[in-house]
């Protein structure tokens, strides 16, 4: 493991865990269903956050 690879791993991890990479995943998925309308990043992030209105996710003590 080099410092560079460690850095790359940290960056990948942080992007994954914060959901910063979610939109890219959505774009990947969308490629499989091209007939669906493509959401912009703004629209997609709104949709993603608003889903939590219905499922806030419990936090433990």
């Amino acid at each position: 493991m080099t410092p560079r690879s460690l850095l790359r791993f940290v960056r990948w991890y942080v992007r994954e865990i914060t959901g910063a990479s979610e939109y890219e995943r959505y774009l990947d998925r969308h490629r499989a269903h091209p007939h669906m309308p493509l959401l912009s990043r703004r629209e997609y992030e709104r949709l993603r956050t608003d889903r939590r209105n219905a499922a806030p996710g419990a936090r433990c003590c």
Partner: protein
């Protein structure tokens, strides 16, 4: 297609040597803890005993449970793979999911409980935290996670209904709801006790609201989806707010932020209501990012602090309160009350709600329940050990001056020092004033709830490394801030979850309430939930006997009884599916947990000692009231009334919780007897087998055997343009995620494209 087995590793001489060394280190540390009496020992021994035991338990016991008891099968597709919809079901990298799961289960609980339990000495708490997590807590989390995963991520309540029947299901649902209310009330009480009469703390916490609103606006409008950037800005503002609190403290504005407990209760209830009806993007989501970041950061900082500073424990190993049951922080003897007070960190029923919620819908491979279920709980347990250390480095005199109820201590440094002397510990009034001055608080007397004590302990440890004694006040308020921050996040989210449960249930009676978008229903149910926990919060601050002293045992009992329901469910499913001979794996923790909690409930309801039994307490105060007398610590007839009402409510609740759990266990016994008598295993609600196409490592790091797999080696194409993603999490990383060979398989997931996953349409 070849597939990676779930770690069929042969014992090599090297691995035998390594594990023998781990075992020796753990055993030596336990030996030091057990044998040292009367001298001060280093906290490092606690850490070594914990880490050594965790390592052994994870390597051997969790593997045994995964393979033999549960029979994890990596050829079987998980719900994340089968039902992948990119929304709630999507296969997520095990390390990312471990992070999410840990953030969801770990909160203020593992920090508060051990601090209160330090009243019994450091040893009982340590033993329970470590043995409890290995044999009960982590087992519950992992087994619940596994069974929920095999049932497409069904919730605890749904599983109880399907596997046991409607009676058990209804009892479980009612138990979950009422436990949630108590939990929110007690957690909010911890915040109130930490912020009362503290302008610094109140200002910093109040500032988190505009900061969160700003972050929400930034994420929604200015830079959608830039979570990292937003969090960095938020954390910077937060640190500014903590520093600003120090300035407020000395300014004329201090009076405006010096609030009484009652005012804080009103603020919290109003806040809780608005936080739960506002859209999540505005307050909850940004707050969640902030609190998760602070949580992980502070816990990491504390771990470094404990390891580097290696403080000595000033607490006794076992105090006399453990045996006599007359401790000032909470009444009752070691058995059962140490096991009630420390719930989170050893065995927490609340985790079963999370292990049967979002997490099972995101697991890539069945064998990963070991890392995510068992592993995350071990991490939480380690947090609890550190909290116990932080409380145990304090001078016992200071500890009791902070944690005994105000009714006992009085309000002045002199009266508190005298009361602590009565308890058998030494602290001078000047020491108390100096301790308050060091953290720039008006007083440290009777700051119950655990948070201030923990904060003093943390400031003691961290100021030894970063910044020196001049930074004590900063670290103290930093610790208060981070605890209050994630308690408030729990309160937000918990109020919402409680509201959904209520809407769901009431919707069966009157349809419109069930509609999530119908505003009056939403406001009404939110208000009901907020008033329910607000009631307990209010009784907590107005009770002359001390709210924490009264309510924390109730909270512990509730949490542990929820664990009993989860363990009952797990045991029932094991027996129903023909695994009677492995039923002890969850059956023994269940028996222990039921013994502990039912004994505690029994004592809380029926004990003759008014300090322990709620009804004995009620009778004592009611009799005095009838005679027109006022009993200390109550100061007038109104307070006498308060005590009578509170102890009645608490007693009824304790009895109700126990009754609900007995109902669930009784229901389970019937089902299990039927299963044992039947020749064939009874049908369970398990989802049918579907072949998996995902190939990923099972543990935190890819094993050598996993690396040798052709699918793994072939999983390199970083270019994989198709990007059709079987496993979800990795796909976005294809372009920029770690490449092959970088770091133990961080890359492997990215390339599963090579395994030809078919995506569900």
């Amino acid at each position: 297609m070849s597939r990676i087995s779930s770690g069929g590793v042969k014992a090599t001489p090297r691995s035998i040597l390594i594990w023998a060394a781990v075992a020796v280190v753990g055993a030596v540390a336990w030996g030091v803890l057990a044998l040292s009496r009367g001298e001060r020992i280093s906290a490092i021994w606690l850490v070594a005993a914990a880490v050594g035991s965790y390592a052994i338990a994870y390597r051997f016991y969790s593997r045994f449970i995964a393979r033999r008891v549960l029979g994890v099968d990596d050829r079987r597709a998980t719900p994340a793979e089968r039902l992948d919809n990119g929304v709630d079901f999507h296969p997520t990298d095990r390390r990312v999911l471990l992070g999410h799961h840990f953030a969801a289960i770990a909160g203020a609980g593992p920090l508060v409980g051990p601090v209160l339990a330090a009243q019994m000495g450091y040893l009982p708490g340590t033993i329970w935290i470590i043995a409890g997590v290995i044999l009960a807590g982590a087992v519950q989390d992992m087994v619940t996670l596994f069974f929920s995963m095999r049932r497409d991520g069904k919730s605890l309540g749904q599983m109880v209904r399907e596997e046991m029947g409607p009676v058990g299901g209804a009892a479980a649902l009612l138990a979950v709801f009422s436990i949630m209310i108590i939990l929110l009330g007690v957690l909010a009480l911890v915040v109130v006790n930490a912020l009362a009469a503290s302008p610094w703390g109140t200002f910093s916490i109040a500032m988190t609201i505009p900061i969160a609103l700003f972050m929400g606006f930034y994420l929604r409008v200015l830079r959608p989806g830039r979570v990292m950037e937003t969090t960095v800005i938020g954390v910077a503002l937060l640190l500014l707010a903590i520093a600003g609190g120090g300035w407020i403290e000395g300014s004329p504005l201090a009076d405006a932020f010096t609030l009484s407990p009652r005012t804080l209760v009103i603020c919290l209830v109003v806040y809780g209501f608005f936080a739960s009806v506002l859209p999540v993007w505005l307050l909850l989501a940004p707050r969640d990012y902030l609190s998760t970041f602070m949580k992980v950061g502070t816990i990491g900082l504390l771990a470094v602090g404990v390891l580097v500073a290696a403080p000595h424990l000033r607490n006794e190993a076992v105090t006399s309160f453990a045996l006599d049951g007359d401790g000032p922080v909470f009444a009752g003897s070691l058995f059962p009350f140490v096991f009630i007070t420390i719930a989170c960190g050893a065995l927490s029923g609340f985790h079963a709600l999370i292990a049967s919620g979002t997490t099972p819908k995101m697991i890539q491979k069945e064998s990963q329940v070991r890392l995510i279920g068992y592993g995350a709980m071990l991490m939480e347990s380690f947090v609890a050990v550190m909290a116990l250390i932080a409380a145990s480095v304090l001078e016992p005199g200071l500890y009791y001056a902070m944690n005994a109820p105000a009714g006992l201590l009085g309000t002045t440094a002199e009266s508190a020092a005298a009361a602590v002397g009565e308890l058998g510990f030494v602290i001078t009034p000047d020491d108390l004033r100096a301790a308050a001055a060091a953290v720039q608080e008006q007083t440290v007397i009777a700051r119950t709830g655990g948070a201030p004590t923990l904060a003093v302990g943390i400031s003691e440890i961290l100021s030894g490394i970063f910044g020196g004694s001049g930074f004590k006040a900063f670290w103290y308020h930093f610790a208060i801030m981070f605890e209050a921050l994630f308690i408030l996040t729990t309160v937000d989210a918990g109020t919402r979850v409680g509201r959904f449960m209520l809407q769901d249930t009431l919707g069966n009676i009157w349809k419109p309430i069930g509609r999530v978008s119908w505003k009056p229903g939403l406001w009404g149910t939110s208000a009901l939930v907020v008033f329910a926990w607000g009631y307990f919060l209010y009784t907590g601050v107005s009770d002359p006997l001390g709210g924490i002293n009264q309510l924390f045992p109730l909270f512990g009992i509730a949490n542990q009884l929820l664990a009993a329901i989860a363990l009952t469910l797990c045991t029932t499913i094991l027996i129903k599916s023909g695994r009677l001979r492995w039923a002890w794996v969850t059956g023994i923790p269940l028996a222990w947990d039921a013994a502990v909690t039912l004994t505690a409930s029994w004592q809380k309801v029926f004990d003759d000692d008014p300090k322990i039994g709620f009804f004995a307490q009620r009778d004592r105060y009611a009799d005095a009231l009838a005679a027109g007398k006022v009993l200390a610590p109550a100061k007038n007839l109104d307070q006498m009334h308060t005590v009578v009402v509170n102890s009645t409510v608490d007693g009824v609740l304790a009895a109700m919780f126990a009754a609900l759990v007995l109902l669930v266990i009784g229901n389970a016994v019937v089902v299990c007897l039927r299963a044992v008598r039947s020749r064939e295993p009874l049908p369970t609600a398990e989802a049918p087998y579907v072949e998996s196409a995902i190939v990923v490592p099972s543990g935190l790091f890819a094993s050598a055997a996993e690396r040798r797999e052709p699918a793994y080696a072939g999983a390199v194409p970083a270019s994989a343009p198709a990007g059709r993603d079987g496993s979800g999490s990795g796909s976005a990383g294809t372009a920029e995620g770690p490449r092959a060979g970088d770091l133990d398989g961080g890359e492997a997931e990215t390339g599963r494209a090579g395994t030809g996953t078919a995506e569900a349409p």
